[in-house]
């Protein structure tokens, strides 16, 4: 049975509806298949993630040991843990209790919005290391992702 046939059949009076036994068999088949395949796929993913994660971690720790001090600058982006806390914000802009990141987030929107009509001078801003998205911005993103 294929896609359009079903749609067709569904939209018209269903002359030949399934017997109770057929219903049972179809259902059991789909439940069983769904259960097995979904679990099989996701368990396969578990193993693959574990394997490649282990390889990456080993490679990176080996790399960072052997090259420490040499390629520090190069390695930094790859090593920096994404889930780590981000306490780095320098104090320059932070005297008033809002971190640079928060400031930047808010203001980014503004500037994006108002573009070059703005006349203010920018004194200093630093990009955060993990893709520029602070914890605060993450929360906002989550809020936006929600409805989809």
């Amino acid at each position: 049975m294929n896609l359009s046939d079903v749609a067709l059949a569904a939209q018209t009076a269903q002359k030949e509806s399934l017997t109770l036994a057929e219903k049972g068999i179809t259902s059991a088949k789909v439940v069983l298949t769904g259960f097995v395949v979904v679990f099989a796929m996701l368990i396969l993913l578990i193993f693959i993630i574990k394997i490649y994660s282990a390889i990456v971690q080993k490679a990176q720790s080996a790399g960072s040991n052997s090259k420490k001090g040499k390629k520090n600058k190069d390695e930094k982006p790859a090593e920096k843990p994404a889930a780590a806390p981000a306490p780095v914000v320098t104090a320059s802009a932070a005297t008033d209790g809002i971190s640079d990141e928060v400031v930047a987030v808010i203001s980014a929107a503004v500037a994006t919005m108002y573009g070059s009509s703005e006349k203010a001078r920018i004194k200093s801003i630093k990009k955060s290391s993990d893709g520029g998205r602070s914890a605060w911005a993450k929360a906002g993103v989550l809020d936006n992702t929600r409805p989809f």
């Binding site: 079903v6 269903q14 789909v30 395949v37 979904v38 990176q60 889930a83 989550l142 992702t145 409805p147």
Partner: protein, 412 residues
């Protein structure tokens, strides 16, 4: 006199083509329903980004059904046409059984054109592109076992399939109804347009409604299935995930899933492309546009036109009521199985896993994870489950897409 007659004729013509004579009772009922949905979207803020456009599309199509009419070509017998018109004939002429007909075209309605992106399966993957740009798979990579919970929460999909079959739906319809339990809007719409497009309105509205109601539906189930001790488990902090692992994740996942379940490839492919935009860090321009303007434009078109599939005649049927009930069951079963597998992991790990994070496996990102956090904190105010629940939560998105691939293959 003739003027007055013309005036009366014109007014009568306007009246006859007005909704007062062309609409039927179902349309008026639907107008009422759409206003209720608008109220829920605006006042209660139930998923307003989708529910507001959906409700408005529903309102429009029931006020003016032609707004969803397909373009058409009428075959007018040549003689009739010539009688009514002057000048050369500008349309193709077809000969049929010896008679000649003018192929006279009529444009489709506004929302019909915008709806093609839904019908042809274009919008849902593009929304997944934007979601991919906003999703952090870090918690999942850090704790890949979360995927088991993301799989468990899909069991509801298949059990609901059974229910739908026994309630008289065809296999394809039952598949589309079951996917409501995936708690994932674009996946539900993608699957439904392929398996049972005539149910799109009901299924989309049910899916988004239950996603909005996650904070109300899930907690009782979670509490019923867990003990106080289980709910109080404080989980170990997640290990940090390196940037390289995050970059490799989307590439590896898309390869595995697209090879094994090609039907899921458009959804998973776009989700992972978006995620690669985000994690690679080298394409900020398009990353930003994909998750903002592009996704917003698609959201407007998708919401409004999905709502516009709910015209009175197709929506006000007994099938819709069945779908709404089955959708709720699917949701509850998904939550329950997520929690139950959470309990299994609790036992298997000697009490290190809090089973509350299992309910987040239904997806409904990030609301379901927040519910886990909140219910956990009710037992132990110092317990922060949010990041732990994000693992099963994003795993649920992948799980739903996999389940969609299975359904499309087996019943499609």
């Amino acid at each position: 006199m003739e003027i007055l007659q013309g005036f009366v004729d014109a007014v009568v013509g306007i009246f006859n083509s007005s909704g007062l004579t062309t609409l039927n009772w179902q349309n008026y009922v639907m107008i009422g329903i759409s206003i209720v949905l608008l109220y829920l979207a605006i006042k209660k803020q139930y998923e307003p980004l989708l529910l507001l456009p959906i409700a408005f599309g529903m309102l429009l199509v029931n006020l003016y059904p032609s707004i969803m009419s397909a373009p058409s070509t009428e075959m007018i017998p040549l003689a009739d046409y010539v009688k009514d018109h002057t000048g050369a004939i500008q349309y193709p002429i077809t000969e049929l059984n010896g008679a000649e007909y003018v192929n006279y075209p009529t444009n489709g309605g506004l929302l019909w054109y915008l709806y093609q992106g839904v019908k042809l399966g274009i919008y849902p993957p593009l929304i997944f592109l934007g979601i991919g740009c906003m999703t952090d798979f870090g918690p999942l990579i850090s704790n890949p076992k979360s995927l088991i919970l993301g799989a468990a929460a899909q069991i509801g999909i298949f059990l609901t399939f059974t229910g739908a079959i026994f309630l008289g739906f065809t296999a394809a319809e039952a598949g589309a109804i079951g996917i409501i339990g995936g708690a994932d809007g674009p996946t539900a719409i993608f699957v439904t347009t392929k398996l049972a497009p005539h149910l799109l309105g009901s299924i989309a509205i049910a899916a988004y409604s239950y996603m909005a109601l996650v904070p109300i539906i899930q907690p009782p189930i979670m509490k019923f299935l867990t003990t106080k001790k289980e709910r109080s488990v404080v989980m170990e902090q997640l290990r940090p995930v390196s940037k390289l692992e995050k970059i490799m994740f989307p590439v590896i996942v898309v390869i595995i899933i697209a090879i094994f379940l090609p039907d899921a490839a458009p959804l998973v492919g776009m989700l992972m492309l978006g995620n690669l935009f985000k994690e690679s860090g080298v394409v900020e321009r398009i990353n930003k546009t994909a998750q903002n303007e592009l996704m917003n434009i698609i959201t407007i078109f998708l919401g409004t036109t999905v709502g516009a599939t709910a015209s009175g005649q197709t929506f006000l049927t007994f099938a819709t009521i069945k779908i709404i009930v089955l959708g709720l069951i699917a949701f509850c079963l998904g939550t329950a199985f997520g929690v139950l597998f959470g309990k299994i992991m609790y036992l298997a790990t000697g009490g290190k896993v809090n089973p509350l994070i299992g309910s987040a496996g239904v997806s409904a990102v990030p609301m379901a994870a927040r519910v886990s956090q909140k219910v956990g904190q009710q037992e132990n105010p110092g317990n922060f489950l949010l990041m732990h629940a994000m693992g099963p939560n994003v795993a649920g998105v992948i799980g739903s897409a996999v389940a969609a691939g299975v359904l499309l293959n087996v019943v499609g």
